[in-house]
Subunit: 167 residues, 2 copies
Amino acid sequence: MSWFSKDIKSMDDLFVHNLRDIYYAENQIVEALPSMIDKASDARLKQSFQLHLMETKNQIQRLEQIFNMINLEITSVNCPAIDGIIDEANEVAADIDDKMVLDAALIAAAQTVEHYEVARYGTLVAWAKLLGRPDCANILQQTLNEEKNTDMKLSQLAIGEVNKKAA
Amino acid sequence: MSWFSKDIKSMDDLFVHNLRDIYYAENQIVEALPSMIDKASDARLKQSFQLHLMETKNQIQRLEQIFNMINLEITSVNCPAIDGIIDEANEVAADIDDKMVLDAALIAAAQTVEHYEVARYGTLVAWAKLLGRPDCANILQQTLNEEKNTDMKLSQLAIGEVNKKAA
């Protein structure tokens, strides 16, 4: 982003900016997940993170598909939000020894990531429809549904299993 | 947080850490909202941010009430996540001239904040119940409901009014 000229002049520009922002975020999540898989002790939590890593890679491909559909170069912009969310997750994890408490903290961190994505994809779906691209909106909606589903499954895993072990 | 000893030893510690994290976050939101109110052009959006500022101040008081209920000093820990979310909102806003496009971006930013809070309060409610503090859980649930409601209202305002003006 240039600090000398205002680059976002229209809703199209804002849509593209947010597309590049979530593209950066998804790539950071792919980098962060292997360490979360390593740190997780609960077998189902580990499995859930592994599944989400595959899902995230597929979500990145969907974003690349959209860049192609709107004839745009596949690039990212920095996303201080996801950087902050991941930094915070790492800071908290570094401060915990007990494996069960760490699992509970990892779920909380993952749900923060999911909610960030739900917010971003929710906005992107609305903007794609507004801009007359229901084809892009449909693809983004698939990812939005997956993120909501992941968040719900993490809540179930936390309440049904991980939190009880940690308490 | 100390980098030399692992300070979070139990779920109680993790609960308190997250309480101090969201306490920091809510205070940052109170600092950020006046600038968002200034930047907003749509009258209903401005009003919605004003209402949310009052609501957030009340949510801070609820957190202080919980600190008192569990006999803990009212302090905060740094929260890189909310710092990142607010930094990102400021960066994007600084890159937009058109007032209607700026309104759409402000709603997107506010919804990211709301989702961060929904994730945090959702976790805190679950942990408070787990730790045998339904009294704290009830108070946190009130805020969780408000955050979800704010997010829903912002979606309605975006889809029904602000995005159309911006497109």
